[in-house]
Symmetry: C2
Subunit: 313 residues, 2 copies
C-alpha cells in the first residue's frame, strides 16, 4: 500500500510522513514530488493540490483532509469528484474549541475588560456579579466539535441551546433544527445570549449570520466564530456592535485571511481577534486517526467521516 503526503509546507509534509510511517510500518509513505511515479492508494493534504497531483494520482481510494473544514477542497476545480474525501474527526480539536469558547465567554461574563481597565487606573471596585441564567449559550452546529462545546458549557452550569440540521436529543441541551419546527432558527437566535458558530461553511450556512438574523438575539448578546468567516457577514456584525445591540465578538476566522491590515475589525473596541488558532491540527492524534481509517479500508470495513459532497461536509 502506498500513501502520499501533499501538505501545505515542506516541514509539515515531513512530520506527517514520519508520523504515518510510524503508525503504518508496512506502508510505503512518500511526499508528493519526492516519491516514485505512479498512483498512490491514499493521499493526505490540508488543501487541494495542483492538477498535476491528480493527473498522477488518478486511482486514490481516499483523500484525507487534515483541517476541520473541507469547503475549499470541495471547491477545487481540478479534483475528480469521484475521489472519496475523508474529514478529520476531533483528533484533539474538540478540547481546544472548548477552551477557546469557554475563555471567550468567561471574559465577558466576568467583565474582565472592565477589571483590566480598573487595574490600569488602580481602581478597586467590585462590579455587580453575574448570574448564569442570564447567559444562555447557543451552539450553531452540532457535529463532533459542536457537541463537545455544548456539553462543556452544560457541565459548567450554563443553559445550552444547540442548532443542527436534524433534531437531536442530548441531555440538558435544548434542540433546535433546520429540519425541525418552522421558525426554529429564529427561536434559537432569540433564546441565546452567546452565539457560538461552529458549523461547516456550505451553501446553506453561507452568510447565515447577518443584519437580520443577528438582530434576533436579545440585546447585549455576544458572538463567537470558530468555524469559517463565510458564515458571518462582517459589516453587519460591526453595524450591530456599533448600534449597541451586540455587546461583543470573539473572532478566530474571517472572510479574508490573514485579516487585511486596514480592516475595521482589528481596532473595534468590542472585538477580540485571534489569527485562526482556536483549534490547531495535532499531528500525533490526527495521524493515528488517519492510519486507523486506512487499516479499516484495507480490511474492507466502513469508516466514519466520509464527506457528503452534496451536503458540503
Amino acid at each position: 500500500m502506498r500513501i502520499t503526503v501533499a501538505h501545505h509546507s515542506p516541514a509539515s509534509c515531513q512530520r506527517w510522513r514520519d508520523a504515518l510511517a510510524r503508525e503504518l510500518p508496512d506502508a510505503e509513505v512518500d511526499i508528493w514530488g519526492q516519491g516514485r511515479a505512479g498512483s498512490a492508494d491514499y493521499a493526505i493534504a490540508w488543501a487541494a493540490p495542483a492538477k498535476e497531483f491528480f493527473d498522477q494520482h488518478a486511482r486514490l481510494k481516499a483523500f484525507f483532509c487534515t483541517g476541520a473544514g473541507v469547503e475549499k477542497l470541495l471547491a477545487s476545480p481540478v479534483m475528480p469528484q469521484t475521489i472519496p474525501v475523508i474529514r478529520l474527526e476531533d483528533a484533539g480539536m474538540g478540547a481546544q474549541m472548548v477552551d477557546y469558547c469557554v475563555y471567550a465567554v468567561l471574559h465577558w461574563l466576568r467583565r474582565r475588560s472592565e477589571y483590566d481597565e480598573q487595574q490600569r487606573a488602580r481602581v478597586w471596585k467590585q462590579l455587580p456579579a453575574y448570574d448564569l441564567p442570564d447567559w444562555p449559550i447557543g451552539v450553531f452546529g452540532l457535529g463532533v466539535l459542536g457537541l463537545q462545546v455544548a456539553t462543556a458549557f452544560r457541565a459548567l452550569g450554563f443553559n445550552v441551546n444547540a442548532f443542527s440540521r436534524l433534531p437531536h436529543e442530548h441531555p440538558g441541551i435544548r434542540s433546535f433544527a433546520e429540519q425541525g419546527a418552522a421558525g426554529d432558527f429564529a427561536a434559537f437566535m432569540r433564546a441565546s445570549r452567546v452565539l457560538i458558530i461552529i458549523a461547516p461553511l456550505t451553501p446553506t450556512t453561507q452568510d447565515r449570520f447577518n443584519r437580520e438574523t443577528l438582530a434576533l438575539m436579545p440585546p447585549s448578546s455576544y458572538v463567537i466564530n470558530v468555524a469559517r468567516g463565510g458564515l458571518l457577514v462582517e459589516e453587519d456584525l460591526i453595524e450591530l456592535l456599533d448600534r449597541g445591540h451586540l455587546a461583543g465578538a470573539a473572532l478566530d476566522v474571517f472572510r479574508q485571511e490573514p485579516l487585511p491590515q486596514d480592516h475595521p475589525l482589528w481596532s473595534h473596541p468590542k472585538v477580540r481577534i485571534t489569527p485562526h488558532v482556536s483549534a490547531i491540527t495535532l499531528i500525533g492524534p490526527s495521524a493515528q486517526q488517519v492510519a486507523e481509517k486506512i487499516r479499516r479500508l484495507e480490511r474492507g470495513e466502513s469508516i466514519s467521516g466520509i464527506v457528503d459532497r452534496r451536503r458540503g461536509y
Copy 2:
C-alpha cells in the same frame, strides 16, 4: 426560635433577613440593633460584630459566617470562644472559583496577552500551540472549593496535583499532604506549573508562599491566589516575577484590601488583579444552607462546617 443578622452593610442585612424569613417562616428574624432586647439563638454575619453584640447575645447556639474564610472572625478579641462558628460550604462559590481559575489559566496557556498585543498592532501571526502536559496544575487546599477546582481542571484534561492537610484519594488527582511523606510540600511545588492557592489562612499557611517556596516551582510558572493575601508574600512574588522565574500571577486577594493605590502590583505587567470578586456569596443558596443547618440543630442532629478553632478553619 430567634435569629439575628449582623451583616456588614444595611442592604445586605435586609437581604439576609428577608431570605432567612422566607426559608424559616416560623422563626423570628431581626437585624441586630433593630430587634427586641435579649439573646437570639442564632446569628449570621460576614465578620465579627462589636463587643456590644456579644454582650447582648450571650447564649448563641451557633454563629454562621457568610464568607468563605473565617480567620478574621476567629481573631476577634470580643467573641466568646465558646460560641460554635459555622462556615458556609460552597453554596455556589465553588462554581465561581472554578471559572475564575479556569479563565486565568486559559489566558496564559492560550497566550492571550500576546494575541491582544498583536491585535493592537494589527499583526496576524500564529504563535506556537500549547500542550496540556506542559501545564500541570497544583491546587493548594482541598476543601469543598479546592476539590471542585481540582476536579474541573482534571475534566478539562489537565494533570492535577493537590496538596492538603491529610493524604487524599481522588481519582486522577495526585495527592501531596502536610501529614504525608517528608518533603511532600516541596515535591508538590516542583511538580506544578500553575499554583492555585485556595486554602484557609491559618498560622500554618501564613506566608507559606515566599521567595524560597515559590522558587521550587519550575521556571515559567504561574500563581493564582483566590484564598487570602496572608498566604502569599507579595514582595517575594514580585521579586520572582521580575527575575523571570515566575511568568505571571492572577491575584484576587491581597495582604491589604483594598490594595493601596501606590502598590507595585497594580502596574506589574505580569500581574492581573481583581478586587476580591473571585467568588461572591450568593444570598439565595447561602440562606438555604444556613436554614437547613438551623433546622438540623433544632432537631438535635449533627451538621457539617463547624469550625475547629485550633485548626483555624
